[in-house]
């Protein structure tokens, strides 16, 4: 399951947000509850972005009284969360606010292409801010069954640098998002259990099979029963205290795809957080396969990066 994606994807969450009653953030949903296509795009950082498209049929296949087990829910959520549209593009910006209120920003354009529905994807992320990293590009060939291939391009040196596999639960470009939030965590790495089922939401608890490899004791996801998109993810320590939360703040309907346009990840221990916003989102642009190659790292593909 890809948490970031899950987090970013959710369909009709207004009623759920109200029920949560946290009151801090208004979640705006611009589509009707039963839409033909519920997906959230994909867009997010390198991997960041994934689009989700859950076909209407998928939603309709899952009537409320369908008794799915936890693994099935996670599998559906994972599928819903990831592979919508054949490709996508978005402009993204992130605001990092540390525990002392000091701010940093990141701004970049993400291009994504799905090679296999539910399988390999390719991403190109080109940074435009802060100004000292302008032109830096990041490319990922995501391989769900193996290590991702990753490259970084540093324009000041004209250097294409292959990046070795690493801990996926460390910061992505200095934000509160982890690489794994962005690139996806396999459902096979965790055990899953249904904690609660409401009219609209499944609340699941997940524990890592290899607990030494993660910083959490468990985490919970709030998954919409119709769209199978997660609304919120919270991570807990050994004492059961939530220390990290990912949540979507705004969803809009874009090109018939339910798209998260604002999201937030919070460190609940020190109050620091990262806000994420997407803008100028487009789907099904018909990216050629070779767009995700060394050429695009060294020479920004202006024709594909520019918004319509």
């Amino acid at each position: 399951m890809n948490f970031l994606n899950l987090n970013l994807n959710f369909g009709h969450v207004k009623s759920d947000a109200n029920r949560r009653g946290d009151g801090t953030i208004a979640i705006e949903v611009t589509r009707r509850r039963f839409c033909r296509r519920t997906s959230v795009p994909a867009v997010f950082l390198m991997v960041i972005l994934s689009s989700y498209s859950v076909r209407g049929a998928a939603a309709e296949d899952a009537p409320m009284d369908d008794k799915l087990n936890a693994d099935q829910i996670v599998a559906k959520a994972s599928l819903s969360a990831y592979y919508g549209g054949d490709d996508g593009r978005t402009l993204a910006r992130m605001r990092i606010v540390d525990a002392n209120g000091r701010k940093q920003s990141r701004q970049f354009t993400i291009l994504r292409k799905d090679l296999v529905e539910g399988g390999e994807q390719k991403f190109l992320v080109v940074f435009s801010r802060p100004s000292d990293v302008k032109g830096t590009a990041f490319m990922v060939h995501k391989k769900p069954d193996g290590e991702d291939d990753r490259w970084l391009y540093l324009p000041a040196l004209d250097l294409v640098k292959r990046i070795s596999a690493g801990d996926k639960r460390t910061s992505f470009v200095g934000t509160h998002y982890f690489y794994e939030d962005v690139s996806g965590r396999s459902p096979k790495l965790d055990t899953h259990q249904i904690l609660e089922e409401t009219d609209s939401t499944y609340i699941l608890q997940h524990r890592a099979i290899d607990s030494a490899s993660v910083e959490f004791e468990s985490y919970k996801t709030w998954i919409d029963k119709v769209s199978f998109l997660p609304l919120k993810i919270e991570y807990y320590d050994g004492r059961g205290n939530a220390f990290r939360r990912i949540e979507a703040l705004e969803v809009k309907l874009i090109e018939e795809v339910n798209t998260v346009t604002k999201a937030k990840v919070s460190n609940l221990s020190d109050g620091s957080f990262t806000l994420l916003e997407f803008r100028k989102i487009n789907y099904n642009l018909g990216f050629p396969d070779n767009l995700f190659s060394e050429r695009s790292l060294r020479t920004p593909p202006v024709n594909w990066l520019k918004t319509k």
């Binding site: 402009l91 000091r102 000292d132 302008k134 910061s171 620091s272 806000l275 202006v302 918004t307």
Partner: protein
């Protein structure tokens, strides 16, 4: 050891900055943020022209001062760069205007650091013409088949890594296909490495030891062209490249009768591969340098042919810690001819010059802090170079960088050891804005 007041102050300033982001034990309620209030509507415009600026000051003070150097520093400069990037769907123009005030050598200048035009064709061809940076090869600060100019004057005094690869005047044509890719760079005027000539560093001079020469060494420029080719692709997750070069040795390789240094003809070919292995990345590279003007190696005043070999491995050994190791061999061919014909007092390289590098990179404070420790150690020369830096990102606009360049060795004439008296502590502060 003499340290300028500025360096001490900067260290003092850095300390509180690096210690402020420790999380508190107590859970704190998050600030309630209205996105627009928090952030505003500050998205970049769609204008095809983007302009940004960077201003930095750097100072590097010698760790020990003796008579070998004229001054007690090897860096004392303000640089400003303004970057103009125009990207349209049909072509792009990139211009970097640099203003430099180098107090160390009393040089004040404005120059077009980069100025180039890029045209991309749908056929898979990119053509870039003008002053531009070109880099290829698999080494980490070790170069075999990358025969584009390096600025070694910028390597030992705390300037940003990017200054090691200065722009060159070139026509670069890149062509990409599904299986093979081609990269051709033609430079109308040969551009050598910027080697140490004495205006900034002390180094070994035969008969005089480690000193700064009274007047800069004069090196005869070569007006002829050079060309480099790379053919590359990937198969089964192995990235491979073949390289060719026609031009000159990049460092002075010959001495004429009046003692002036110059560059002799050199062609080269080579190959490299890079692949994921054992959870890390493995790379191997080879190159053969053919000395055209001294094919037999008998002329002691012209560099001999060489073979260069590199093996490298890089892996994330723990979360936020990356270790890279490299083994490098530079083999001088026809060595008996060289040593048999060497002049009295002439310094000749070891037949097999070996070098190992270790680089440990550490990120902390959610990547605000980046520490890089790199050691170059040569078993054949019995010398080493410790290159360490810490970079702290204060904000989107401000960065502090501080570190050490430390060179030492057994003999005063080997490559790194000759620079021993230039060992320094440095700091830089950088402001970037739009």
């Amino acid at each position: 050891m003499k340290l300028p007041l500025g360096l001490i102050l900067s260290m003092g300033l850095c300390w509180p900055l690096t210690s402020v982001t420790q999380p508190s034990d107590q859970t704190r309620e998050q600030p309630q943020v209205e996105l627009e209030d928090e952030w505003g509507d500050d998205w970049q415009s769609d204008s095809p022209l983007q302009i940004s600026h960077e201003v930095s000051y750097g100072y590097a003070g010698l760790i020990s001062v003796d008579d070998s150097n004229f001054k007690d520093s090897v860096l004392n400069e303000v640089r400003s760069k303004s970057k103009f990037d125009y990207q349209s769907t049909s072509y792009s123009v990139y211009f970097e205007l640099e203003l430099l005030a180098d107090a160390l050598i009393d040089r004040y200048q404005a120059n077009a650091y980069q100025l180039n035009l890029l045209k991309s064709f749908d056929s898979g061809t990119d053509v870039r013409i003008g002053r531009q940076v070109i880099t290829w090869g698999t080494g980490d600060l070790v170069f075999l088949n990358d025969l584009f100019s390096k600025d070694w004057k910028s390597f030992f005094n705390g300037r940003d890594d990017s200054y090691l690869k200065p722009p060159v005047d070139a026509l670069r044509v890149s062509h990409y296909t599904d299986t093979l890719n081609f990269d051709l760079a033609w430079q109308p005027d040969f551009e050598s490495d910027q080697v140490l000539t004495g205006e900034r560093y002390s180094f070994y001079l035969p008969g005089a030891g480690r000193i700064q020469p009274r007047s800069e060494l004069s090196i005869n420029a070569t007006q002829r062209s050079e060309a480099a080719l790379r053919i590359f692709g990937a198969a089964s997750n192995i990235e491979w490249s073949l390289y060719g070069y026609r031009g000159f040795f990049k460092s002075p390789s010959t001495v004429n009768e009046s003692g002036e240094l110059g560059f002799s003809r050199m062609d080269s070919f080579g190959a490299s591969l890079l692949t994921p292995l054992w959870g890390g990345l493995f790379n191997a590279e080879f190159s053969q340098y053919l000395s055209h003007d001294d094919t037999s190696g008998r002329d002691p005043l012209i560099a001999n042919s060489q073979q260069r070999f590199l093996l490298g491995f890089e892996s994330e050994i723990a979360s936020d810690f990356t270790l890279g190791v490299q083994a490098y061999l530079e083999k001088t061919l026809d060595y008996n001819q060289l040593s048999g014909n060497a002049l009295m007092g002439q310094v000749i390289p070891a037949e097999n010059r070996t070098m190992a590098t270790f680089r440990l990179t550490h990120q902390a404070l959610q990547q605000r802090l980046l520490n890089s420790f790199m050691l170059f150690y040569s078993p054949s020369d019995q010398d080493y170079y410790l290159r360490y830096s810490s970079r702290y990102v204060v904000s989107d606009n401000w960065k502090w960088i501080a570190g050490i360049n430390f060179m030492q060795g057994q003999s005063e004439q080997t490559f790194l050891s000759q620079l021993e008296n230039n060992s320094n502590l440095f700091f830089r502060v950088q402001l970037s804005f739009e």
